[in-house]
């Protein structure tokens, strides 16, 4: 079945909301920036008048002022933007339950099954109208059969426009664009491609996947597929809560770790914390990552996609240990180690794997009980037998942890 995917992008989101709430600013160049009173602080968003002066998102406020002396800088009001983001999601929810937020201002919608409400373009146009009349802001919407082209489409015409990329027209619309218009082509990738004479998306599409792999690693093949419209990734049901992009814990251990048994024990402690935090947020991780630092401070990270998303300590531990065994040669003892769950999805949103599911749900029950016991009686009330005789077990990373959500700065986009 041919998929119909929309990507909706709130135009100049923070700046648009500020201009709505401050009518006196609408005719002026406006930037939303942190700490305008301070000399530091950066441009988080700007309106079109500010954009016309060459101001870039992410640059320092003093630079922006130099480019545009009349620039009005207003402080960000995140609670208001969050409220707007939720209202926008409410509108999307009238057309499909498959909505994947990408930051506060962007979302993918799978409307394949929504034809009773109109085709992709009709739904896109309805959403645009409602954004204007109900929220007072505009969106640009891309319509395509995959997420990558839908996103690319939403960037092509702004503000308040619908762009359709079909199997018939993608070669003429998408392929002439510079490589960096493709999602995931950042500065480093762009430079590597450029060094090999690839400057447009058609250059990526026409290259041999193996050649791209030799330049970019596994990403090369992925980008080749994206450029050819072969992205089949689903729109996952994902809310603002997914603004937390990963959940991880690391610790510098009381003594250096010298063997696998040591690593296994510490990994258990970390995995329990990561798992408990994932469960608290109702999330599961598709990718498990480890970070290892040896006693000469050389460090590396390795990650691996899991067969099924998980938020269970046992599974996270096993995955982390497996990655570790495959990537460490014990040339030196280890000083610190970290475990992280990435590529988060809402718990239970994925198809279960039929066969090991009984085992999985049993583990799930056990770990939920442990969560509860620890909540009531403290972290050390229940411990893994594997840790009982260990001198490495007096770490409680969950309550010591620092959360690193991807804040608005993580989504700096035009």
């Amino acid at each position: 079945m041919k998929r119909v995917i929309l990507h909706s992008d709130l135009n100049n989101f923070y700046a648009s909301v500020e201009c709505l709430y401050r009518p006196e600013l609408r005719s002026k160049p406006v930037a939303v920036g942190g700490d305008p009173e301070q000399r530091h602080g950066i441009v988080l968003a700007k309106n079109y008048l500010a954009k016309a002066t060459g101001i870039k998102t992410g640059e320092a406020l003093w630079q922006a002022r130099q480019k545009c002396p009349g620039l009005v800088i207003v402080p960000p009001n995140f609670p208001l933007y969050l409220r707007y983001s939720r209202l926008a999601r409410k509108i999307y929810a009238d057309y499909t339950d498959q909505v994947e937020s990408f930051g506060l201002d962007e979302a993918w919608l799978d409307v394949t099954g929504s034809h009773i409400l109109g085709d992709g373009v009709q739904i896109a146009d309805k959403i645009r109208e409602r954004m204007k009349s109900e929220l007072g802001v505009t969106v640009s919407v891309g319509v395509s059969w995959n997420k990558i082209f839908a996103k690319l489409g939403s960037d092509l015409k702004k503000p308040d426009a619908t762009t359709v990329i079909t199997r018939e027209n993608y070669r003429s619309i998408v392929w002439p664009l510079p490589t960096e218009e493709l999602l995931y082509v950042g500065r480093a990738t762009k430079r590597k491609l450029y060094n090999h004479g690839i400057t447009t998306i058609s250059g990526i599409a026409g290259a041999e996947p193996t050649y791209l792999k030799s330049i970019l690693g596994k990403w090369g093949e992925m980008l080749w597929a994206f450029a050819n419209g072969l992205d089949a990734s689903p729109v996952t049901r994902m809310g603002e809560e997914s603004l937390v992009k990963s959940v991880g814990n690391s610790t510098t251990t009381p003594r250096d770790l010298v063997d696998e048994e040591d690593v296994s024990q510490v990994t258990y402690v970390l995995a329990e914390s990561v798992a408990a935090r994932l469960r608290e947020s109702g999330l599961e991780a598709n990718i498990i990552e480890i970070q290892v630092r040896d006693n000469e401070l050389f460090s590396f990270t390795r990650q691996q996609k899991q067969l099924r998303a998980t938020n269970l300590a046992g599974e996270i531990h096993d995955a982390a240990l497996k990655i570790f065994k495959g990537s460490y040669d014990w040339e030196r003892p280890i000083r610190s180690i970290g475990v992280r769950g990435c590529d988060l999805v809402i718990a239970g949103s994925q198809q279960p794997i039929l066969f090991d599911d009984a085992q999985h749900s049993k583990l799930e029950k056990i770990e939920t009980v442990v969560d509860d016991l620890r909540r009531r009686f403290g972290h050390f009330a229940v411990q893994r037998a594997a840790l009982l005789n260990s001198d490495l077990n007096n770490i409680n990373p969950k309550d010591d942890h620092i959360i690193h959500p991807v804040g608005p700065v993580g989504y700096l986009k035009g």
């Binding site: 709505l20 709430y21 401050r22 009518p23 409220r83 204007k132 009349s133 109900e134 007072g136």
Partner: protein, 83 residues
């Protein structure tokens, strides 16, 4: 919302009722000068933005003294657009 000082957005006191269906319905509003105006009829209720006042909320289209007036309910406060 105190930081947005928009003269076209006039916050007002409103007398309202939650009816048995759980709907919120305004009955009367008190203008800045203290005068009270009964809401004669609510014609329409919907989520709507006001470019003039700057904001979005549940918009009640009301008949007040024979005139059609928008009354907005946003984040627990009522406001009208200054004419």
């Amino acid at each position: 919302m105190e930081e947005y000082n928009n003269p076209s957005k006039v916050y007002v006191d409103v007398l309202a009722v939650f009816n048995q269906e759980g709907e919120l319905r305004p009955l009367a509003l008190k203008w800045e000068d203290g005068r009270r105006y009964p809401v004669d009829r609510v014609i329409d209720v919907r989520q709507a933005a006001s470019l003039k006042a700057g904001g979005t909320g549940i918009r009640y289209t009301c008949k007040i003294r024979g005139k059609q007036t928008y009354l907005f309910f946003e984040e627990g406060r009522w406001w009208v657009e200054r004419r």
